[in-house]
Amino acid sequence: MHTLIQGVILGVLTGGVYALMASGQTLIFGVMKVVNLAQGAFVIASAYLAFSLFTNYGIDPLFAVLITTPVMFGIGVLGHWIFLRPLRREDAVELSILVTFALALLIEGILSVTYHTTYRSINTSYANKAFDIGGFAISAVRVYGFVVSCVLLLLLYIVLQKTRFGRAIRATVQNPQSATLLGVDSNRVKAYGFGLGIATAAASGSIFGLLFPFNSGSHYDLISRLLSVVVLGGLGSIGGAVLAGVIIGVVSSVAAVTWSPTWSEMTFFIVLLLVLLVRPQGMFGRVERGNL
């Protein structure tokens, strides 16, 4: 029982981080109707960035977020402008998937040439510290990571709910045609929305680097998990992504302690299959046919 609860706690803490990463991905889908297969790659890139900042300048990764996020936001907007905007309308959706896939691989390639393929992790001073709460040993990094994730998710929420930009995004996600009629510049929303999605990847990259060892190839594993989270939550629903992140975090963590760590990786896939089998639109996604 003790291990079970430990697993649940761990799952919630890790799930928060997945939630942050997935929220950006589902936001991008909501705004552009494109599945960004490069999300994981951006997280890893940002993790490497935080790693470099830490190793060379001693900047704590959690503070590095303040640096990496704006930088990646800019890269995201630029990337959208260069690679995604020029796509012809008719096959834009189909091609966008492949373009983001190619982007992910490009990033992976650049990272492995720059950093080589050894596994890295960001070992801060508190990396091995653990809190003892009620008899459960909880590693400090997980707690910090979770807290920062929550703060960032809250920030995201505020941006979306309270700012004009956020409202424009939500309007576009709900109903693109009406949004345009209401004066929203859809190109700018898409560009900045994509940037915002990448920014969340950037922020979570630092946390990811703290929590897990990574190398350039880690984005495959990561994107598979993120996609499962996003599908469970419902493509386009940020609240769904957050909830799904925590759920899957808990499920895979419990699977790791009760079953085996290697098989816990499969839980993501199993969840994905179950969702598609039972309720393809996920928890909060919309069932839609016809052209979006």
Partner: protein, 243 residues
């Protein structure tokens, strides 16, 4: 004359916006019924709900005795219900002739047959001739003009000899001569037994071609009747002018 299509208390909301609000109406078999209403009255949403492109929040749709509001476009096709779209959706990468042939549908097994059999050619030729598209039969649908696309789309939904055809703004963006052509086609197919439900903005077209007329406003049916009655109905005038 019996009821071919009956919509009862159909409702659909998008977040806070209720596009279709307890909407009810019916379509008589053998009629050319118009569905009109000001912008935003929910006409196209109703079409999407009837034809299985959107799931409804509540309400039912019955067609030829069976309940269809949960069915998808494929099932409806087999039951004899087809539709066109405002944007004239045709298969851009297929030729005009192929667009027609593929619209004959069929079982998976039937698709192992020749791409365009002699029978296909004949049947497509009938429609091509009728709609005066024979000279562009081998052009890709993407190479057609807007008016030709609308004609092609219209022709293709007739390939399966359906019972009910839903036309979504067939005259939008089409020149007057072509509008007349469409009106002629609609009338002749109607005489041959096809029922039409047409969403339209062009009032003169509606007056000439359709009877009865159903008026929607803000997702609800507000009037039904023949064109003259509806035209002078104060509620209808209010709906159009009041917004």
């Amino acid at each position: 004359m019996s009821e071919l299509l009956r919509v009862t208390n159909l409702t659909k909301s998008f977040g806070e916006l209720t596009a279709v609000d307890n909407c009810s109406f019916s379509v008589e078999e053998g009629s050319i019924t118009a569905l009109i209403g000001p912008n935003g009255s929910g006409k196209t949403t109703v079409f999407n709900l009837i034809t299985g492109y959107l799931p409804s929040d509540s309400g039912t749709v019955e067609f030829a005795g069976s309940t269809i509001h949960k069915e998808g476009p494929g099932t409806l096709y087999r039951k004899g219900l087809t539709r066109t779209f405002q944007q004239a959706r045709v298969f851009a990468d297929l030729t005009v002739q192929e667009n027609l042939v593929v619209a004959r549908g069929g079982t998976l097994k039937s698709f192992f047959g020749r791409r365009i059999s002699a029978d296909d050619r004949m049947r497509a030729a009938e429609l091509l001739d009728e709609f005066k598209l024979s000279h562009v039969a081998d052009l890709y649908a993407s190479e057609l003009s807007w008016g030709q696309r609308k004609l092609l789309e219209f022709a293709s939904v007739l390939m399966s000899k359906p019972r009910l055809v839903l036309l979504d703004e067939p005259t939008a963006g089409v020149n007057p001569i072509l509008i007349e052509t469409m009106a002629t086609h609609i009338r002749s197919y109607n005489e041959a037994g096809v029922t039409f439900l047409i969403v339209e903005h062009d009032m003169s077209f509606v007056m000439r071609v359709c009877n009865p007329v159903i008026v929607l406003d803000r997702g609800k049916t507000i009037a039904t009747g023949n064109p003259e009655t509806v035209q002078s109905d104060p509620r209808v005038l209010d709906a159009y002018l009041g917004d």
